[in-house]
Amino acid sequence: MQPMLASFEQPARHWTQGLDRRFALLWALLWALLWALISRLAFAGRCDNTGATRERIQPVPMAKILPLADAVEEVVRDGDKVAFEGFTHLIPYAAGHEAIRQQRKDLTLVRMTPDLLYDQLIGVGAALKMIFSWGGNPGVGSLHRFRDAYEQGWPRPLEIEEHSHAAMANAYEAGAAGLPFAVFRGYRGAELASVNPSIKSVTCPYTGEQLATVPAMKLDSAVVHAQRADREGNVMLEGIVGVQKEAVLAAKRALVTVEEIVDDLGLRSYNACVLPHWTITAVAYVPGGAHPSYAQGHYKRDNAFYEAWDPIARERDTFTAWVKENILEKGPEAFARFART
């Protein structure tokens, strides 16, 4: 019978076969030890984490004080989710104009109160999307370039994500705090909640109250203007401070343009709004850089310009000519003449 025969025909085991098996075991053990050693060295202190935590934001050794063009080059990149923040006050116009000169594209522009600067960025086609809560020319009327892009797709279609001020302010704060979302009492009876899918709700675990939620605002880059920086790149802003501190702390990279660079930030309230240099990527000295917005203590809001903008932005031709003359053919030094009150 064939099977019986087969057992007899099995050749004698060579002594090296057993040795191989023993070596294999040894080898495996050795490799395991080696791997343990390597992983211990490579991932020292790392623990498995069941919850999501915020990405680590590396402190910048010292904010680099750079010319505006270099600062914008480094901080604001194509495709960024970027906030040029400023709540009427301290709007970083010069930095926005530099981004236009450098032909930044595919930006997601974030701002509570997009005004003329975003009208300009949208009008030149730098933006794919705008996230906002009030988009107008305050006290004057519409943002015509924004409307043309959104309603007619010129010079390119613009996507929007719309919120209320309370939602945006809370979202920035959650972004700065490293939380995944913001919770607040809002949007009750308001239709935005039914057209913006990112607005959701949560039930309070203590009281059972339904509260609105929005995702935390997490930015690639934040650009703000401030009154002064010292030589280390610590920045101080005062007056209507808006959501600038939150925007900077919610961003991976931050650029601050300033009215002046001083040896020492000087006499200030113990609770002054100061951004330490290690929260900022780059500081650029651009006096007048907030015009036609203003810098408290330096120059006033140019309300006449906000009114003059209406006819300029109304037509594509007048807008394009204005951009050519006032942005493309000029540099940041053109803002200096506004620095005098």
């Binding site: 709540f87 009427t88 006050h89 509570m112 109160t113 906002f132 809560s133 009030w134 988009g135 107008g136 305050p138 006290g139 004057v140 519409s142 943002l143 924004f146 409307r147 959104y150 309603e151 719309e162 209320s164 001020h165 309370a166 302010a169 809370n170 920035y172 704060e173 607040f184 009492r185 809002g186 949007y187 009750r188 009876g189 308001a190 239709e191 935005l192 057209v195 109250e209 339904q210 007056g239 209507i240 401070v241 808006g242 959501v243 501190k245 939150e246 709004c273 203003y294 408290q296 006033k300 809001r301 309300n303 006449a304 906000y306 009114e307």
Partner: protein, 260 residues
């Protein structure tokens, strides 16, 4: 002084809106007509009023009307200025505001407001600036005053979009949403004053401005407007009210034109 004989409908509206405010009010001020009314109140019968603008300025006393809600004048004359997240979280959401003052592009009979779009949301005929602070002002302030010029274009039967809640669909709409604040208690226009009916909450004419007829009010309203059982005659502007208001506008104009 002789009683002034002429005034514009807008002046009448601003003056009536100002009269609605008390010295003890803590008022969240929207820009435009509300800002003029609130500052007129402060400069006339309500010197103690606390004016708050959403830019963060608390108890501000501007000498002229700001063009935006964040003009330097507001910060310089304020008791204190807080950050925007603090403004919305502690002061508005925290329930510290007695009166929220709003305006809008469209309003319906229940004083719901639209400042978002004319036409459908995704393909609007006109894209308006949006809600800003209004959605939460409308529900967090103890009560809301609205001031808007009255016309068929803006007083509509159905809003294109509900930016901020008034009395919803009437009756207990707010209560059903868990809202404890009163909502719009007064709508002041250039022709009349409307207040919510105690039961239906439909905005109903309670006072008619001098020289205005019921027909004119009906013609300027996009729904069959109701009149209260007892309708008052709005007292005409006083010399003081008109003078202070005109001075305020003159100072503002001069400042914008760079003469101040």
């Amino acid at each position: 002084m002789a009683a002034p004989s002429t005034w514009t409908p807008t002046e009448m509206m601003t003056i009536v809106a100002a009269r609605a405010l008390k010295s003890s009010d803590v008022c969240f001020v929207g820009i435009g007509a509300p800002s003029a009314a609130c500052n007129l109140a402060r400069l006339t019968h309500a010197p103690g009023i606390t004016l708050i603008y959403e830019s963060g300025t608390i108890a501000t006393k501007p000498n002229l009307l700001p063009l935006s809600i964040g003009d330097g004048e507001l910060c310089e004359t304020a008791l204190t200025t807080v950050s925007v997240p603090e403004m919305f979280r502690y002061w508005l959401q925290g329930g510290r505001i007695t009166v929220g003052f709003l305006g809008g592009a469209q309003i319906d009979r229940f004083a719901n407001l639209n400042t978002t779009v004319v036409g459908p949301y995704n393909r609007p005929k006109v894209r308006l600036p949006g809600g800003g602070g209004a959605p939460e002002i409308a529900t967090s302030c103890q009560e809301v005053f609205i001031t808007m010029a009255q016309s068929k274009r803006s007083f509509v039967a159905k809003l294109d979009f509900i930016t901020s809640l008034g009395h919803g669909e009437g009756k207990c709409s707010r209560e059903r949403l868990g809202i404890a604040t009163k909502g719009p208690t007064r709508l002041i226009t250039d022709l009349s004053v409307l207040e919510p009916d105690a039961e239906t909450r439909e905005m109903t004419v309670v006072s008619i401005h001098p020289g205005v007829t019921r027909e004119r009010i009906a013609d300027a309203t996009g729904w069959p407007v109701k009149f209260a059982a007892k309708v008052a005659d709005t007292p005409p502007p006083t010399v003081e009210e008109l003078t202070v208001l005109r001075d305020l506008h003159a100072r503002t104009r001069a400042a914008i034109e760079g003469k101040a």
